[in-house]
Amino acid sequence: MNSSSAPSEPSRRPGILVVDDDAGIRENIADLLSTENYEVVAAANADEAMRVLDSQPIDLLLTDFQMPGRNGVELIEAARHANHQVPAILMTAYLYVFEQMDERRREGITLLRKPFDADEILQTVAQKLADGGGRKS
């Protein structure tokens, strides 16, 4: 799935990193997104995700919230800390946990409420990529 095109190439397909510990969800999201014009990479946890971010261009981070190890918000913070200014979408059923977090931590994170249907995820991804204007780092 991984594109070998150079980051500077303007016609490159947008790269999306999907992070979820549930293999079914992860693979099915990747499968659906790859039917659109996206390059999709999947990771099972935050550590794997950080290795992907360090090694290849990613335009959008789509991560689950509740995962073993670092959670989705911690992954987004780690990514930003490592200077990957990547737009992020957080998938969660536990809205109230996210809503109760410090406002600064929630900043810039788009919430995708679980359970979502295919149309919602495609729309949210397309919207976030349009707003994010691609990579900023």
Binding site: D22, G24, I25, N28, I29, D31, L32, T35, E36, A93, L95, Y96, E99, Q100, D102, E103, K114, P115, F116, D117, A118, D119, I121, L122
Partner: protein, 458 residues
């Protein structure tokens, strides 16, 4: 004649030289004193036991409680019976002389004081349930003056639905049954309020004449209400946990179904397959909306109150619910001209209002739905009235219960009003309903303009 002093040997001092009478008198007087003190001690112990029994009510020490109360109440019962008997016998034996009458007056006065000061309601009834006597606590319990109790049938103070039970109890007691039962009864006060009581009774049977019943009654309304609330909140909490578990477990497969369906739809061009995939997706969305309702019910979550113009909020809700309006139904909104500012969570109150207006539209085939916003100073009231089918009283009672629905299977989860009430309650408000079958219903949401516990943003 100088009134005798209270000490037991006192009254026997000024006696006639007759050898038999003083002995008789002395016996009688000391007997009366002993009985009085026995009754005082007995009553004190009884009230103690009552208190212990009620404290133990929540625990499961039933057997122990009964042993304890039986052991202690038996002497008391004997005391009360002896006292009443004694006073009856002595009242007839006027020939016994002035001193005896004096002692009787004293004993009666003590008996009166004791009964009057008792914290429990005491009612003395004849076998036909006519009240012969009542103490102050009894008057308070029934919310009536003595004159409105004595001479009346005790059954006047029992709500109609409890009359058979109260009648059975009285008859059983006269037959000598249920002597140790802590009878749970309901009284209705002068204002029609239901008072939950625990009742014990003693039957006094004079040698001649009708038996008399002494009802000792304790108000346990507050305890019962606290128990009911505790049970209810435990019930809701466990139901909430179940709902949350089910919703979360079902959400993952639902998401996968949706993702895979869409993925297939993007890979095949066959119109018939597309048609069926759309149906799968639609069914998946229905299932997801049910789990979403379950989660809202299970975890109402913290509210995010912001200053909101309720006029706009109500108008928006009416517009959104309009899809459920039948063609013959007229909508009237009375929102006033000035904006009504209120610190509420707009998303949640919007949902509550949409739900109420939607219900009103669904209940009304033709006629009118009126939505009125009232500014009441520190609070607001939004009422939604319809001229629809109305709600029978037995349904009204359960209307706000979760999973209770009168809609057809698949048309409602029975969570709408339960969630609405949760949302409104988390604002410190309330929802009430007034309804008459065939005439229509009015639901009113009361909201304080400033919620009681607004948590400042972190």
């Amino acid at each position: 004649m100088t009134p005798a002093t209270a000490g037991p040997p006192g009254p026997s001092a000024p006696t006639a030289p007759d050898a038999d009478r003083p002995r008789g008198r002395r016996r009688k007087i000391s007997g009366a004193t002993i009985v009085i003190w026995a009754v005082i001690a007995g009553l004190v112990i009884l009230f103690g036991v009552f208190a212990v029994a009620i404290a133990l009510q929540a625990a499961t020490f039933n057997a122990m409680r009964w042993l304890l109360s039986l052991a202690i109440e038996a002497p008391l019962a004997a005391g009360i019976i002896a006292l009443i008997w004694y006073s009856r016998i002595s009242s007839r034996a006027t020939a016994a002389g002035e001193t005896a009458a004096n002692a009787l007056a004293q004993s009666e006065a003590k008996y009166r004081d004791l009964i009057a000061a008792a914290p429990d309601g005491i009612f003395v009834l004849d076998p036909h349930a006519r009240v012969l006597d009542v103490n102050g606590a009894g008057e308070t319990l029934l919310g009536r003056e003595r004159g409105g109790i004595v001479g009346h049938s005790f059954m006047e103070f029992v709500p109609p639905d409890r009359l058979p039970s109260a009648g059975d109890y009285l008859e059983d007691r006269l037959r000598g049954l249920r002597a140790t039962e802590l009878y749970e009864a309901i009284f209705s006060t002068a204002e029609g309020k239901r008072v939950h009581v625990q009742l014990r009774s003693q039957v006094v049977r004079p040698a001649d004449g009708d038996p008399v019943l002494v009802y000792i009654v304790r108000d346990v309304t507050a305890q019962r209400e606290a128990q009911r609330q505790l049970l209810e909140s435990e019930r809701w909490a466990s139901m909430g946990r179940l709902a949350s578990f089910v919703a979360h477990e079902i959400n993952t497969p639902l998401t996968n179904i949706s993702l895979l369906t869409a993925s297939i739809a993007r890979r095949v061009s066959d119109a018939e397959v597309q048609e069926r995939l759309k149906k799968i997706a639609a069914q998946g969305r229905i299932a997801a909306s049910i789990t979403a309702e379950l989660l809202k019910f299970a975890r109402p979550g913290a509210i995010n109150p912001v200053e909101t113009n309720l006029t706009d909020l109500v108008r928006g809700a009416v517009e959104q619910a309009d899809a459920f309006r039948k063609p013959g139904v007229e909508v009237r909104t009375e929102l006033g001209n000035a904006p009504v500012l209120c610190t509420v969570d707009p998303l949640r109150i919007h949902e509550v209002l949409v739900n109420l207006v939607k219900n009103a539209f669904e209940a009304t085939a033709n006629g009118r739905v009126r939505i009125r916003l009232e500014d009441r100073g520190p609070s607001v009231a939004v009422s939604v009235s319809d001229t629809g089918t109305g709600i029978p009283p037995e349904v009204q009672q359960r209307l706000f219960e979760a999973f209770y629905t009168t809609k057809k299977k698949g048309e409602g989860t029975g969570l709408g009003l339960a969630i609405s009430r949760n949302f409104v309650a988390s604002h410190g408000g309330d929802i009430t309903v007034r309804s008459e079958v065939g005439k229509g219903s009015t639901f009113t949401v009361f909201l304080p303009k400033q919620p009681a516990a607004v948590t400042p943003p972190a």
